[in-house]
């Protein structure tokens, strides 16, 4: 199979479309959850526990061991997922960008140390780092956000570092420097717009990663705590019973998959779009 022809500039593609739809779906569910949920997600009602999906019209996805409506808990869980996922990534991204940018602009001992530090942080398997940090900061929402933000930092630091170094060698930057532009201005006015697209796609992928880790943490009991609802926590709670009531394990997992998929596809789709727009390799 030989080289295929260049496609014409597209404004969208399949990944982007599906990704956007999925993300919007989660966001909408989250927003709706503040207005209306079929039942109170925290209210326990042991007489109605272990209802299978479809057994009772009012509890579409069934109930868990405490008689709580699964659908409502999933809706509530969407809040956590978005909150922790987006906020932690945002924090991590900002810190990472600053660190990376600083290191790239500086090019002295301090910046080498910073980048070595970043390398060290990247060597940790994400979950391990998060687990350690949760011990320090505490469990629950706040702890998760901090823990996850920390392991998002090195990704962005590395990305910004290499992008700035790449851009620096470009002629127009050399020209700007020759007429004495300040470093801050250089960064803000020139670098950031160039890097913006890559950063956005990375942001989307990192949110997906963050959500995966958050759910894993909650599953292990180290993240969101009861009585809050997080999809990972729901799966954890179902561990005692799912061999007898398999349906307990299904819905939260599907929710996780769809959300992570959404952010991943969005990031990939965006990437594809922007690569095509640039007209191939630089």
């Amino acid at each position: 199979m030989k080289k295929s022809m260049n496609k014409s500039r597209k404004k969208w593609n399949v990944s982007l479309a599906i990704g956007t739809v999925l993300i919007l779906a989660v966001v909408i569910v989250c927003i709706v959850s503040f207005i209306y949920m079929p039942h109170d997600p925290i209210e326990m009602n042991t007489t109605l526990n272990f209802l299978r999906p479809g057994a009772n019209e009012s509890y579409i996805l069934g109930t868990d061991n405490f008689g709580r409506d699964i659908l409502s808990r999933i809706m509530m869980g969407s809040r956590t997922v978005l909150l922790v996922g987006v906020v932690s990534t945002a924090f991590g991204a900002v810190i990472g960008i600053i660190l990376g940018g600083f290191a790239a602009m500086g090019k002295n001992i301090v910046s080498s140390i910073i980048m070595r530090f970043v390398d060290g942080m990247m060597a940790f398997p994400g979950i391990l780092l998060a687990m350690m940090l949760v011990l320090v900061v505490g469990r629950g929402e706040k702890g998760s956000i901090v823990a996850i933000a920390m392991f998002i930092v090195p990704t962005f630091a590395r990305l910004v570092y290499s992008m700035v170094l790449d851009t620096e060698s470009m002629l127009f930057v050399k020209a700007a420097k020759s007429y004495g532009i300040t470093k801050r201005r250089l960064f803000k006015k020139h670098y950031i717009p160039l890097m913006a697209t890559r950063l956005i796609t990375q942001f989307s992928s990192s949110i997906a990663h963050a959500i995966m880790v958050e759910t894993s943490l909650s599953f292990l009991g180290l993240g969101i705590q009861a009585p809050n609802a997080s999809w990972g926590l729901m799966l954890n709670e179902s561990r005692k019973y799912f061999l007898t009531y398999p349906y307990l394990a299904v819905a939260p997992g599907i929710a996780i998959v769809l959300t992570v998929l959404g952010f991943n596809l969005f990031g990939d789709g965006l990437n594809e779009l922007l690569e095509n727009g640039k007209g191939g390799k630089r």
Binding site: K2, K3, S4, M5
Partner: protein, 324 residues
């Protein structure tokens, strides 16, 4: 050589890009006779390389080739299976590619990539393959074939690599060799060396060779027959001497005029002819060279006329339409 059988006969070959519907080569017909050296001359973009690629089945996947007849060594490509085509090509046709660097796999020593085609089609062991390779490497001029076999492609110079390519093409004692711009990447002494090599192989073994080139002057001495291609069409074809002494088509005449001045680089336009090679609408019935032709007149309106006089074919309403 004259009056000998044709081993490749192609009638009305058209190559189209399936993605854009653009025609790259339009209704080309040509013939390769046993024992002859055929030169295919044209600028880059004329479609000469792609037309030859159909003979070895290496057309890129987005291009589609259609023909009325495509007979190679007695087999019609339009009828035989893909596997049969593959075996036919592997056994009987050798390709000497244009660019020396990329056609040899960089991660294998020469000894590990030169003989596998031979071993497959002749059921030979590795040691026999190596022996044969050494023989072919000597034919192409290497005094120390062992050293070459032990080398990686990037350890050899461009000229050496080209000779390795030729040796590889000779491994199965093919009946046809297709050489795609075999001299473009080489300097002039090496050019002569390689072309002399082709000539001597042809004289010794009777292998038919197709030499594709943009440089009429270089292949002049080496071809028995020459076909001139322009914008996906064959404008003139005749025995080599005929072409030079008695060129009919204005394009051919222009090409000949340019020869003494310099080695034309691949993408450089012909200095004498204003205008550009047409990319679109190559399937037009009207003369495709008309817009750039300094000799065009009212005879050139309407469909272009073709004419064959003996072995001399040309496509020009003014010079080949019967009237001269």
């Amino acid at each position: 050589m004259n009056g000998s059988e044709s081993i490749v006969e192609v009638k009305n070959l058209t190559i189209t890009d399936s993605a854009t519907d653009r025609v790259i080569a339009s209704n080309i017909s040509f013939e390769l006779k046993k024992g002859e050296i055929l030169g295919f001359v044209g600028e880059s973009g004329s479609g000469k390389t792609l037309s030859m690629k159909t003979v070895v089945n290496l057309l890129p996947s987005n291009l589609v080739a259609k023909s009325d007849k495509f007979i190679v060594l007695g087999n019609d490509y339009n009828e035989i299976s893909e596997n049969a085509k593959k075996a036919l090509i592997g056994k009987n046709i050798g390709l000497v590619p244009q660019n020396t660097v990329f056609y040899l796999h960089p991660m294998f020593k020469i000894k590990n990539q030169i003989a596998d085609g031979y071993m497959l089609y002749n059921k030979k062991k590795k040691s026999e393959g190596i022996e044969r390779a050494k023989g072919k490497l000597r034919i192409v001029g290497f005094k120390d074939p062992d050293r070459i076999l032990e080398s990686y492609p990037w350890q050899l110079s461009g000229g050496m690599r080209q000779r390795v390519n030729i040796a590889l093409a000779l491994m199965n004692d093919p009946q046809i060799i297709i050489a795609d711009e075999p001299t473009t990447a080489l300097d002039s002494t090496l050019q002569a060396q390689v072309l002399d090599l082709f000539k001597s192989i042809n004289e010794k073994t009777g292998v038919s060779i197709v030499i594709i080139s943009h440089d009429l002057g270089v292949i002049r001495k080496y071809c028995h027959r020459i076909a001139v291609m322009y914008a996906g069409q064959i404008l003139e074809s005749a025995p080599a001497d005929e072409i030079f002494e008695n060129a009919r088509h204005p394009y051919t005449k222009a090409l000949i005029r340019v020869i003494p001045s310099l080695n034309i680089k691949k993408d450089e336009r012909l200095m004498e002819i204003p205008g550009f090679v047409p990319e679109k609408n190559r399937e037009r019935k009207e003369c495709i060279f008309k817009k750039r032709c300094s000799e065009a007149d009212e005879r050139c309106n309407g469909d272009v006329k073709e004419g064959t006089e003996g072995l001399h074919y040309c496509k020009c309403s003014k010079y080949c339409g019967g009237e001269v």
